[in-house]
Amino acid sequence: MSTLRVSVWRGAESGEFRIYEVPRLESQTVLDVVTYIQRSLDQTLSYRFACRVGMCGSCAMTVNGKARWTCRTHVAGVAEDDQIEIAPLANLPVIKDLVADMSRFFDKWAQAKGRFQGTRTRADDFARVLPDSPQREAVDAAIECIGCGVCYSACDVVTWNPEYLGPAALNRAWTLVNDVRDTARAARLAAVAGDAGCHACHTHMSCTERCPKNLAPTASIAGLKRAVAAAALKGEI
């Protein structure tokens, strides 16, 4: 059985990479590797995971310099010369080892007014939204975000402008802008506009390149740019 040489970030903002030797297994994921280290080599290693099947969005880390969901990243696809480097997500404060502080990331969802606001109550009938309506199709294209933070970690604009809301929050806002039941459109467009909002995006497309769910936050942000610009020209924001 061959061995994998794994370099793992230990510490908080300051720290160092420590090397661990992990046996290679068939169909082994990066999360399997981290779990092996924690259970068999060093129990003080901190990391975060929950579902292990690509649904919950908790296990994202920086693997060989790129943000990835580790539960569905196979070692065979990323190891170079039987070596691999695992670090916490970039663009977020490090709490300990592989655990990044996600609060800033989720606070920005709230800032972008990522919460649905409607008028109906449970006493009302269901809203009818045609599946093939343009708005519903725009929502469908962006709705499967699992909030893993990979796009936020991969975004250059977040690095340069820490106030920038980032791809995930803007992508969420775009799904609500297209939700015909939602009533907070103008306030949301104002919340996602300007220097810290969608207009800061340079269309580098790192978010779209890295999104494990194959979403295209860049397209959502482009949609927001157009919607916000139109609203600004009409004096609505």
């Binding site: 506009a193 207009h199 610009a229 600004a232």
Partner: protein
Amino acid sequence: MMNIRTQVLLWTAQRASAAVLALCVLVHLITIIYAVKNGLTAAEVLGRTRGNPGWAAFYALFVAAVAVHAPIGLRTILSEMLGWRGAALDLLVLAVGIALALWGWRAVWGVFV
């Protein structure tokens, strides 16, 4: 802090001026290639631009697009690279825009009269 609507309008102005620049740069490049290929002297170039309202209007528009586009981009670059934000930055790039417009239009005027 500049209000959100102004930030959005700046972005829109930069997009719109970029569209104008795309056309202007193309015409400008074709003009340069034409002038070089045909070996036009400075006097011959001036002979075509002097008193020609078409060329004057075209280059006046070109300068206007540059004067709108460049300062807005510079504002973003300085903000992202140096972390500089606020009124001082906005005033600086406004001054850059005005300077670009005045120098550019002065040059257009120079080859028109």
